[in-house]
Amino acid sequence: MNKHLSIKTIVAIGIGSAVYVILGRFLTIPTGIPNTNIETATAFLTFIAVLFGPIAGGLVGLIGHALKDSLLWGSIWWSWVLVSLFVGFFIGLFSHRIKLEEGAFGKKQIIQFNAVQLLVQAIGWFLLAPVLDIVIYAEPVNKVFTQGLVAGLANIVSAGVIGTLLLAAYAKTQSRSSSLTKEG
């Protein structure tokens, strides 16, 4: 794995985690349901995963979320940190084929990205998070599944709206690989 870890990926993991912490601390949007926020940090995580791939995505999820929890709460809720790792890794794995550097982020890529993030996050938040909560903390089954459902929906909205906007904005700044035309 270390062979594939370029310097740029390492720095992206480091600075990406710092951005994740700051967004998690300062930029959450209440949905109106008590204690449920739309985390902009999740949207950022999906952005990093698409741009830098599964290893960076997974590690930003792990390091960013663990640091955010410990700096904010003084302790780490491991079950959800592991889900962030899962989400970052698999979104990176499945959508790394979207070539943002070539400036291509049209309808096809938007659908591809959202299908991937919907599927990965659904598995992560609806299934993995509650199961880990039960295994680690022995919390009541119906409570953790409801919690996972609400948090998962908020995160899917976050990645779907803000994540898509971020990717589109980034792609626009890259020159298209096919932007040059041969003059007659």
Binding site: I10, G14, A18, L59, L67, S70, L71, L72, P140
Partner: protein, 275 residues
């Protein structure tokens, strides 16, 4: 805006003098016990010990008060949620039923439920002093060295140290961008509708991301020029050698872990059942 985040607090205490490696190992052992065990006796014992260690560190309560308040709020909500969703969970786990009184419908108050919820609260607060101490008594640059020492590859350890190094910078960027956007008329207050707020949030995140991507380029070029990652391992300027005290602490906490596991799983269940 007030900076309400935890950070390293300089002090001269026994805990500060311990190597970061020792503190990381103790923290990991502590959280493993708290995660695995549901044994009330062990949790209470751990909690008492961590309060004692906290005293040793000379950290004043006022310095971490805001975090403790945060945690209390969270715990209160969590406890309430557990009760609302599963008022009979304790009865299911402990297998007996000592009814105290009934509220209405399915909401009963049983000894088992109270005991179960007490355990959940304990499980959570037991980790807190250890985690808090680890954060406020370990210097960020020593943290990376300790991570490397417990077996994390140094490139990953370096990424963590980069994250800690850049949190203050990114925070400054964030506030600047947020103020600039507000000056341009972007309303980030809760008064706006949800859809609008999502859009406004992106108007802050997008500049933040571009400045961060630029940072990533600059830092990785600088590291490339200095041949980062050429060798299989690296040394750390701020790594502390292990002293006698470190070894003592390490051995004691390993014994504690073994003892806790034996007591917890002695009767084949992670729950301690007094009923």
């Amino acid at each position: 805006m007030a900076v309400t985040m935890l950070g390293y607090i300089e002090q001269n205490s026994v805990i500060h003098r311990l190597s970061g490696f020792t503190k990381l190992v103790v923290f990991l052992i502590w959280s493993s016990i708290a995660m695995l065990s549901y044994d009330t006796r062990i949790l209470i014992a751990l909690f008492v010990v961590s309060i004692f260690i906290f005293k040793l560190s000379k950290i004043r309560f006022a310095e971490i008060k805001f975090v403790v308040l945060f945690i209390m709020g969270f715990l209160a909500l969590n406890t309430l949620a557990i009760y609302l969703f599963a008022p009979e969970e304790g009865v299911r786990i402990y297998g007996t039923r000592h009814l105290l009184f009934e509220l209405n419908g399915r909401y009963t108050v049983t000894l088992e439920q109270l005991f179960y919820q007490l355990n959940i609260i304990l499980k959570y607060i037991v980790v807190t002093p250890a985690a808090l101490l680890f954060i406020v008594t370990t210097h960020p640059s020593e943290f990376a060295a300790s991570l490397n020492r417990v077996g994390v590859h140094y490139k990953i350890a370096f990424a963590v140290s980069l994250a800690l190094r850049y949190i203050p910078d990114i925070q400054r960027d964030f506030h600047m961008i947020s103020k600039v956007q507000q000056a341009r008329g972007v309303n980030i207050s809760p008064a706006e509708k949800l859809g609008k707020r999502l859009k406004h949030a992106s108007s802050i995140i997008i500049p933040l991301i571009f400045s961060s991507l630029e940072r990533i380029d600059v830092v990785s070029n600088a590291m490339e020029l200095r041949s980062f990652g050429k060798h299989k391992s690296r040394t750390w300027y701020s790594a502390k050698p292990l002293m006698q005290l470190d070894w003592t602490v390490l051995i004691v906490s390993l014994l504690l872990f073994a003892l806790a596991m034996i007591i917890t799983f002695y009767d084949g269940s992670r729950f301690y059942n007094p009923f």
